[in-house]
């Protein structure tokens, strides 16, 4: 039975939330240790757990993706694995030589040539002078810098410099490789080469830990992954499940920034987030699930209802109800318009109204969407009321479809594929 290459047992790490508390506790901890006492493993005022009781085990040849929103503890975990930070609780056991692509380009001196920097960076990555000499040609071939290798690094383009750093790190062939979001370096051909190299290492038994914000990058390298959320994790899952969970946490995080912008002011002009003539006001927009319960998230493909509460002040004989849907990056990705839908208008007398708009088969991809209601009059070319971002909704990942291609896309179109060999070509 092969021995595991990475064992993480109950690892926790805490930090001070301000420079003041970091100074205070730094001095207190220094005093404790100088007096021979152990680390204080309790959480003190002004501290937080950056990692809390993280556990996982990896075997040689495993590739683990580590995902999480900003501040979830990914980098802290990677730094503990790299020996930069010491855990406050728990234990990390690494079996084999550890290489870190986070160290790519570390220690480069711009005044020295590429050749000279290979020897420096190689030494910093734990290679002996003999190892560096034996891999020298492989490094410059991988970096594709043959003719520029005796040029000072400060004259390199940023891409050349990064390629050289990456080549040194990746050629060192460790048993455990820590990668932090650095696969997106160089041009597309170089990135392809990097992915291929990492796949080669994986096949040869290197254990890979890849931290990335890109589900696509994780999915292409790793079969399993873990998602960190505020320093905690449920453990290792399939990469598809981890991508879904990461996307879910990511959406919740993004929704925090979507505050309601309701106010009593109703400027009679365009250009703001809210405006109108005052003839009608949309007092509230609720999002309900199929059983009419208010929700803030709905699974992809499930029906939901937009409920508008109208306060009509003056008669509106030819009213049109419209809701614009904004995605995070692209605005107005869809419009729900009563006239477009039914070629008809509504007549409103002054009073309070409730309008339900049923969306039976929404094709919105996982993401966060804002809903912007407006009321217009068929015979008037202006809005009687409009408001941006009155409500927001997160569409979550379904269990049967794996959305990973591009988080910027908002609408999913069902498509069928037929591939055939083009006639007349040599086989």
């Amino acid at each position: 039975m092969q021995k595991p290459s990475v064992v993480v047992e109950g690892v926790s790490k805490k930090f001070g939330s301000s420079l003041k508390s970091a100074l205070k506790y730094g001095l207190i901890d220094s005093g404790r240790r100088l007096l021979g006492r152990e680390k204080d493993q309790t959480l003190r005022h002004g501290e937080f757990w950056a990692l809390n009781d993280v556990n996982f085990v990896l075997d040689p040849g495993d590739a683990l993706g580590i995902m999480g929103v900003n501040g979830s503890g990914k980098t802290t975990l990677l730094r503990i694995l790299n020996g930069t930070y010491s855990p406050d609780k728990g234990k990390v056991t690494l079996r084999g030589r550890v290489g870190a692509l986070i160290a790519a380009g570390a220690g480069f001196s711009p005044m020295l040539t590429g050749r000279e920097n290979i020897y420096i960076s190689g030494a910093l990555l734990g290679m002996t002078p003999g190892e560096i000499r034996s891999k020298f040609d492989e490094i410059i071939t991988f970096a594709d810098l043959n003719e520029f290798i005796d040029m000072p690094v400060r004259n390199y383009s940023s891409g050349m410099s990064v390629r050289l750093g990456f080549a040194i790190a990746v050629i060192s062939a460790p048993e455990i490789l820590l990668v932090d979001e650095v696969l997106a370096v160089g041009d597309m051909s170089f990135q392809k080469k990097c992915f291929e190299r990492i796949r080669d290492l994986e096949k040869k038994g290197t254990t890979i830990l890849l931290v990335s914000h890109s589900p696509g990058a994780i999915w292409s390298v790793c079969k399993k992954a873990l998602v960190l959320q505020r320093g905690t994790t449920e453990g290792i899952t399939s990469v598809e499940d981890a991508c879904r969970l990461y996307d879910h946490f990511n959406m919740l995080e993004r929704m925090k920034g979507n505050g309601r912008r309701n106010s009593d002011d109703l400027p009679a002009e365009y250009g703001g987030t809210r405006g109108g003539t005052g003839d009608v006001i949309v007092k509230n927009l609720e999002i309900l699930d199929a059983s009419f319960k208010p929700v803030s998230q709905v699974e992809y493909g499930k029906a939901f209802v937009l409920r508008l509460y109208l306060d009509v002040k003056k008669p509106i004989p030819n009213g049109i109800i419209r809701v614009q849907i904004d995605a995070e990056i692209n605005k107005a990705i869809a419009i729900i318009d009563s006239y477009e839908a039914h070629n008809s208008v509504f007549s409103f007398e002054p009073g309070q109204y409730v309008v339900d708009i049923h969306l039976e088969q929404p094709n919105l991809r996982p993401g966060v969407y804002e809903f912007c209601p407006s009321i217009t009059e068929r015979t008037l070319g202006i809005h009687l009321f409009y408001q941006y971002g009155m409500a927001s909704l997160a569409i979550t990942h379904p269990s049967d479809i794996f959305f990973y291609a591009d988080f910027r896309a908002s609408v999913h179109l069902n498509a069928s594929y037929m591939v055939r060999f083009q006639e007349g070509q040599p086989s």
Partner: protein, 288 residues
Amino acid sequence: MRYVDSDGMPVTIYQPNETQGGVIWGLQRAATDITVSRHVIARLFWRDFIAQFRQKLLGYFWALLSPLLGIASFLFLFFIGVLHPGEGEIPYTVYVMVGSTIWGCLPGAMGAVSGGLQAQADLIMRTRIPKVALALSSLAGLFYGILISMVTMTIIFVSTGHTPTWWLLAYPLLALPMVLLGTSIGLVLSVLGSIARDLTPMITQLMALVMYVTPVIYIHSTIQNTFVKAIIDWNPMSYLVDVPRSLICLGHADNAGVYLIIAMGTVALVAIGLRIFYLLEDLVAERL
């Protein structure tokens, strides 16, 4: 903790409170870390040494010119008559030059070691090089400076019509206690100075004051105030400066025994400095 398992595979374990050994443990750990990192220390020194002379008109000549310019101010003050230090057995020019060169090893080592971690913050955050190796790697530059200062001292001796004794060849060894003292203070400052950023400048200022109660640029016998005289006598650094200087200039020295005892004390201080360094080193990366 690092070891090689029964399959010949290196195993690394990270856990809290793993640096709880004693003073001897600290020395052993430092010896292991430095041995493991010897290629890195050599490469970092080579990198910084080569890079500082690139694209310069005088190139490697700066290695000699900089220390010569360093003592020019003292000589200038002496020749225009601002300093009246009195005349002893050793000509004043040579006295100041040798004394200040030896004294320079203390702030030099202290600054190099205490600033070593801050200067290599990027490497601490991105590589697995033992921190003690990064802290001590800057000392390579100091030892190179000591060798260069042997050349500058010879030049001054010759240009002032004097002859140094053969003890000049032992200068790196004679200055070693001063380097060790600076290293021990630097080791503590490198970790504590990362937690409280004003600690290193405070101690650096204090050292500048300590120089005035050490016979570096004045002659001990010319001091009249008994209280100041007593401070100088009780100041161990007086002996670390005076004994090597006398040996180099005159070939003999009083208080050589005291010097040896203090020199052994500096070795003990380095061991204590290393112990404190290892106790606190993991607090550094969190505060860079």
